[in-house]
Amino acid sequence: MNNTYESVMARKIEIMKKSLLMDFAQFEQGKLSFDYEGMMNQYGYTLDEIRKIQREAHVGDTPLIELHNLTRTVRALSPKGKGARIMIKDEAANPSGSFKDRRASVSCHFAQAKGFPGVAAATSGNYGAALVSQANIRNLKTIIVQEVFDSLGRGQPEIVEKTRKCEALGAEVIQTSVGPELFYYLLRVLEETGFFNASLYTPLSIAGIETIGWEIAEQCRKLHGGLPAAVVITHAGGGNVTGTARGLRKAGAEDVKIIGASVNLEGLHMASDRDFNLKSFTTGHTGFGVPFATWPDRSDVPRNAARPLRYLERYVTVNQGEVFYITEALAVLEGLERGPAGNTALTAAFALAREFDEDQIIVVQETEYTGAGKHHYAQLAFAKENGIRIETGDPASEKAGKTIVFPSHPDRICAREVDLDPLRASLIRNALKNRGLRPSDLSETDLQFLADEVSRGTDFVSGVLNSL
């Protein structure tokens, strides 16, 4: 077998078919379109079945905690009558400590039912531990491929912790230096082992997240007398936004505003060996959030089930220093010590709650576990070692990779609005560019598909196409 980079990548479609039992070609339509809902329903699990699978595997039904003291703090900074009630879905209560258990649960159920000997994924985040944890319940073996260290051999402490946790749960962990080619190695692993490809971006993975949206709607109705005004979602690869929004819709909560939030890492390149250890957040940041929004099919499957621009109504960014500050505030005001990356959306909600009325609810839809390496103290110590200056002042002045700025006062915490229209236009341009198409090549099906992709009308799509 020829295992050069080019040869393995050329076999990708064939490897996907065998490792996912899914032929993506069947959904292709028009020149660049595909039947998104058809693909999402292909594996045939209903939301009720997924809830049952997750209950069997101790996943979900996590508490929705009202953050009274953070809400009081917001109100002290807000005009009279403003300052929504902030609630947080404590996803750290899942078996491996994050919402990623939901994504892993359905893949592992499917892999077991179809007789796969194991599951594999390329992931440097919480998903690795989630997959091993769920695979253990299903008596499957696990291989996790992680991007861990730079060319000097220095590991990002948060990812080193992910290695430890995966190994503690019994996985085989393959650690790589910086580069997106961990996906190339994953393909080799899938070919060699015949394991199930438990990608983060399959319909199974996204369907597993829909239960969060559903639970939020149900818990708010039962415990708080009505739906939240908004759900704030930490946005990286797009699965969290897509799954949560779909779950809310399935619960009849179409009017709940979907707000994505990412840590602003502008200026740092995600595939850079130099920048790798200059960032204090390894996920939930714009380095994933923007490229995955504007070109979802960059993922490790031919068609990504996570398509955030179909669902995002607002997208905001916060800075690293602000998230660390709110992570500390969550601990000292609410008694909840949780991981910083999961608090990205909480930081945005802290700022956004000031816009909403006191009787409205804003739900932050996840927390994650914390521990050595991924605790905010560990990340700040590592940042200092790498020459990042830690300052207190105006967080807007933070420069990712150079400074981390704690707010000198909580009223300086800000959710900075990202205009979604340029991202939507970028998605449309990328859809054409990646297939070498011109606007005149597109059919009506393609125009409608692009309109759905960006959650706007075909007139918006035509406007972008006319400007090309």
């Binding site: 050069t4 980079y5 003291n69 009081r72 703090t73 109100r75 002290a76 900074l77 073996k141 696990t142 861990v148 260290f149 060319s151 590991g155 402490p157 080193v160 912790e161 290695t163 430890r164 190994e167 019994g170 996985a171 085989e172 962990v173 393959i174 650690q175 790589t176 230096s177 910086v178 580069g179 997106p180 080619e181 190339y184 190695y185 060699e192 082992t193 390149h269 595939a271 850079s272 060996d273 130099r274 660390f324 500050y325 500390e328 505030a329 000292v332 005001l333 050595a372 390496g373 605790h375 103290y377 560990a378 990340q379 700040l380 110590a381 590592f382 830690i390 207190t392 704690f406 909580p410």
Partner: protein
């Protein structure tokens, strides 16, 4: 030189892609260096650190590389407390304790 015994739990390392084999779209500082891989497994023959070795991984795969160490420990930590955050709870409470009254 330390000889590690057959049957020990060890870490090995190998080069997966040399710089010239890496995709062209990578930033230059990444493409200039090889893509390295580390993995752990059971050592199949006695071998010194720094020399070629074969291991069998957790999932039963046979992997070959350079022997790095016997069962290296995890050394990542929590780091020290952050002086800037000392007293943050009191500072934040003082905002609403005053404004409520």
């Amino acid at each position: 030189m330390d000889i590690i015994r057959k049957g020990s739990w060890v870490q090995i390392e190998w080069i997966l892609l040399e710089p010239g084999e890496r995709p062209e779209h990578l930033p230059p500082e990444t493409r200039r260096v090889p893509l390295r891989v580390k993995a752990k497994g059971i050592l199949q023959e006695d071998a010194p650190v720094g020399e070629p070795a074969t291991v069998v991984s957790t999932c039963g795969r046979v992997l070959q590389g350079t022997l790095v160490a016997e069962n290296p420990p995890f050394t990542h930590s929590f780091g020290p407390q952050i002086p800037e955050f000392i007293g943050l709870g009191d500072a934040l409470r003082s905002l609403w304790r005053t404004s409520d009254e």
